[in-house]
């Protein structure tokens, strides 16, 4: 089968069609929706919504849901669901607090213990789903109930506080001054080098690429956004640590889902598990890995929560699993599996957090907030469905 001439790839579409082909239209509807929401809140709060201080708060508020959503995307893409993440968050955050407050365990070890527990719980879920074919809904629902109970028991029903300053800083710290600027410059440099190197490789392969000017404009646009975000956050205190963490995790897991064999195989399993299995994919092992990652990410969220509240409470993370699912779905993840992206879910988390934040600023009563969020979810999925059909 090896005697084939070099393939010729021809695409004769015009500039605009090529451009729109490259742009995921659905992802951009969500971007426009987000901008719309921001404009509305800016108007109704007399501009207070768009102040650096509030945007800084907003970005910190979204971080917990965003971390959970990263794990949830992979689970949902593989046609499963993880309802336990809220309780895993509570239990692991509780463990960290108990170790630190009651047993004086240093921050690093307390955090590692929490992450280890999250990983073990994730493996436990994956084991039941992959090796005993119990539906993930049931396995993780059992986790949702059981871990909350464990937390109640372990914490003896108490709020455990206060944490050490070096623990608290995970949520409340800011990267500012020279280090923050260095980080921004490094990220921008990496983006520029990465994009143009990838373009050069494509040319070497003889593939069609965007024109140099267009590529430059797109790159400058992204870099400009990053610079702008840094600038705005610097107007307040600097870049919040949890935001850096979320962006780091987003980058890492986007890479895992898009660029690795593991990621591709997860999408394949979600698209058609039988075809994936018969293509030589070890479906069981991948399933365990997916739940492991979801558990690990939930424990990271647990640590952030405990740091943020400066305490472990027995209700921490209650209902967080549903916010995470909603973020994924708003961000275009299909509950039927095989489709979804992590940046999309982050965008979804940002939409949810913006709604919470904006309505709180407008002094909307709590019950209205829930009602509105509920209908936004429905509306978002409807819009998604409509645009997909075209």
């Amino acid at each position: 089968m090896n005697k084939i001439e070099t393939p010729v790839i021809q695409r004769e579409e015009n500039f605009w069609r090529r451009l729109s082909f490259k742009i995921d239209i659905r992802a951009y509807t969500m971007v426009f929706a987000l901008i719309g929401i921001w404009i509305i809140f800016t108007i109704f709060t007399g501009g207070k919504f768009l102040t650096p201080r509030n945007l800084s708060n907003l970005s910190r508020q979204m971080s917990i849901t965003a971390v959970l959503a990263i794990g949830m995307v992979m689970v949902i893409v593989a046609t499963h669901i993880d309802l336990s993440v809220g309780s895993v968050l509570g239990l692991t955050g509780g463990l960290a607090a108990i170790l630190q407050v009651w047993y004086r365990v240093p921050t690093v070890w307390a955090i590692l213990a929490a992450l280890a527990l999250g990983t073990i719980l994730g493996i436990w879920h994956g084991y039941w789903v992959a090796y005993h074919n119990v539906p993930a809904f049931i396995v993780t629902l059992s986790g949702l109930m059981a871990y909350r109970g464990m937390l109640l028991g372990a914490a003896k029903g108490l709020t455990i506080a206060p944490m050490e300053p070096d623990f608290k800083i995970i949520s409340s710290g800011y990267l500012n001054g020279i280090p923050g600027i260095v980080l921004t410059v490094v990220v921008i440099g990496a983006i520029i080098i990465g994009r143009f190197r990838s373009r050069a490789t494509k040319i070497k392969y003889g593939f069609e690429v965007r024109s140099f000017t267009l590529e430059l404009l797109i790159t400058l646009f992204y870099c400009g956004l990053i610079a702008l975000a840094t600038y705005v956050l610097y107007q307040y205190e600097g870049i919040p640590y949890p935001v850096i963490l979320v962006l780091f995790l987003t980058a890492v897991f986007s890479f895992i889902t898009n660029n690795t064999k593991f990621g591709r195989q997860v999408y394949a399993m979600g698209g058609n598990v039988e075809a994936a299995r018969l293509s030589g994919i070890n479906v069981r092992r991948r399933t365990v890995m997916i739940f492991l990652l979801s558990g690990l990410l939930a424990s990271i969220a647990g640590v952030i929560t405990t740091a943020r509240l400066n305490a472990a409470t027995i209700t921490a993370g209650q209902g967080a699993e549903l916010d995470a699912v909603a973020s994924c779905v708003i961000g275009g993840t299909s509950l039927l599996g095989g489709i979804g992206s992590i940046p999309g879910a982050i965008l979804g988390a940002l939409v949810m957090a913006s709604l919470d934040n904006g309505m709180s600023m407008m002094n909307t009563e709590a019950f209205w907030q829930q009602i509105i969020k509920g209908f936004v979810l429905l509306f978002a999925v409807w819009v998604d469905f409509k645009t997909k059909k075209k």
Binding site: I4, P7, K202, S279, G280
Partner: protein
């Protein structure tokens, strides 16, 4: 003037960018069995969807007359009321429900308009079952029936709705020979009772046997309507493809190499019951450059055999598998691929493809380890190799980033083929490689098989189509009841010998 029960006049239907039907006229006489033939994409399904109201009036141009009356349906229910029923290739029975519930679904006889009258429902069901020659209790769950019987239930359901024109789309795709015979006798029976039947099939042998008239569509145009007596199979094929196919099966003679795969004393047991063997005493081998055909009736264990050897079947198995002179253990598809086996499964949509993913991702799925450095996919290599296979197999797709769902059946099958060729198999197993694809694509797949043969790949081909088995295989195994009940060289085999072995005779 001749009388027609159905007349479709000057039907034109456009999809974005494509004219699916171009001024098609289609006339059916009352009480006939009228075959509709054409390659995939010729417009058969579109025409039938217009007739059955799936595409409502206004979305096409042209007129439909039933018994001389102009029809304009807005939905399927209105076409049903006009006496049209369609039975699709993919059956739409609900397996968890009983036969009676299925037949009267949405039409349940009721008391006072609310409470279902179960007595009447089941007694009427009994009558309809008699009509289609089924002797089962109306309270049986449909899931317990075989595919053939499920199809009878659909026919009974259509009849219960007083269907006068019955459309059957590839009705025999999943039926055994005897079930096909039963279906045909029921169709003849219905014909005698005045039911008109439109019969869509790729299997021209069946068309010749059952139909009175045949209409041929090609590229959205009506080519001709002929009485079946005035035509031949080859003539129909050449009108369908618009060219003479000198040979339907382009066999090439080629000398074989070494024995590459040997299966000895192979047994396998049912996944749900480890006592019940589904395969027993299997012994065979295949050589480099040989096409080994496996024939047999539905349920003889052909698919189970190839699936089990490939490690894709749950349940235990025993016996020896030797590849290239070395005994190997295969417990998963992963093992099989590592040992140079590839399996093109029988149902490409269910087992072969990820329909919502693009051509590229489907093509490289089984070969990802070779496209990865440190677990990361080299996207450029991926596009390059995908493009290479698209060109090699002449897969008709706009780009390698097109969703597989948007390709025709033949091209989808080529994507599956490409996926497995990419793993450079020593033994390529093909289960029903040409099911549900049109004549032109079939021919291309045969040519690819020949090319592989010349390159020394061993091919095991499971097929329910005897002409295909006889036309392409170098050697033929016939399975019956979970074991091999006959082996023939291609020049000594004929349909009768194979059928005899397949039905258990010696």
């Amino acid at each position: 003037m001749e009388e027609f029960v159905l007349e479709m006049k000057d039907i034109t239907k456009d999809f974005p960018g494509v004219r699916a039907l171009d001024n098609v006229s289609f006339k059916v006489r009352p009480g006939e069995i009228h075959a509709l033939c054409g390659e995939n994409g010729a417009g058969k399904s579109t025409l039938m969807k217009i007739l059955s109201g799936v595409y409502p009036v206004g979305t096409y141009t042209g007129e439909i007359y039933i018994n001389g009356e102009l029809q304009s349906y807005n939905n399927i229910r209105e076409s049903e009321n006009a006496g049209i029923a369609i039975i699709n290739q993919e059956l739409s029975v609900i397996k968890q429900m009983t036969i009676g519930e299925n037949i009267f679904l949405g039409n349940e006889p009721t008391n006072l308009g609310v409470v279902i009258d179960w007595g009447r429902l089941y007694s009427e069901t009994k009558l309809w079952l008699k009509e289609v020659g089924l002797q089962v209790s109306p309270e049986t769950k449909v899931g317990k029936l075989g595919v053939g019987q499920q199809q009878m239930i659909e026919i009974a359901k259509a009849l219960s709705k007083k269907a006068k024109i019955l459309i059957l789309d590839e009705p025999t795709a999943a039926l055994t020979e005897s079930e096909v015979d039963t279906l045909f006798s029921i169709l003849k029976n219905l014909q005698a009772n005045g039911v008109t039947c439109i019969y869509i099939s790729h299997k021209l042998g069946e068309v010749m046997e059952i139909a009175d008239t045949v209409t041929i569509l090609r590229d959205g145009q009506m080519i001709t309507t002929l009485p079946i007596k005035e035509t031949t199979e080859n003539q129909i094929i050449s009108m369908m493809v618009g060219r003479e196919l000198s040979e339907r099966f382009p066999r090439i003679e080629h000398s074989f190499g070494e024995v590459i795969l040997e299966v000895e004393d192979y047994q396998a047991f049912a996944p749900e019951n480890s006592e019940r063997p589904i395969l027993k005493n299997i012994n065979f081998n295949v050589r480099e450059g040989e096409i080994l055909g496996i024939a047999g009736l539905m349920g003889a264990g052909r698919s189970e055999l190839v699936m089990s050897i490939f490690g894709g079947l749950a349940g235990s198995h025993s016996g020896r598998i030797v590849i290239d002179g070395k005994p190997v253990k295969i417990n998963s598809p992963e093992d099989a691929i590592k040992n140079g086996l590839s399996l093109i499964t029988e149902d490409r949509k269910r087992y072969g493809l990820i329909l919502k993913h693009d051509v590229k991702k489907n093509l490289t799925l089984a070969n990802l380890p070779n496209l990865c450095n440190w677990g990361c996919i080299n996207f450029n290599e991926e596009v390059k190799i995908s493009q290479k296979f698209v060109d090699l197999l002449q897969i008709k797709t706009p780009t390698v980033e097109t969703k597989v769902n948007n390709l025709s059946g033949g091209n989808q099958q080529k994507v599956v083929l490409g996926k497995w060729l990419m793993t450079k198999p020593k033994v390529l197993i093909m289960d029903e490689p040409t099911r549900g694809i049109d004549v032109g694509a079939k021919f291309e797949i045969y040519n690819i098989m020949n090319k592989l043969k010349q390159e020394g790949v061993a091919i095991i081909m499971v097929s329910s189509e005897l002409p295909e088995i006889l036309g392409m295989s170098d050697r033929i195994l016939v399975m019956h009841n979970g074991t091999i009940n006959g082996e023939f060289m291609h020049d000594e085999a004929d349909q009768e010998k194979i059928m005899l072995a397949a039905t258990g005779g010696k």
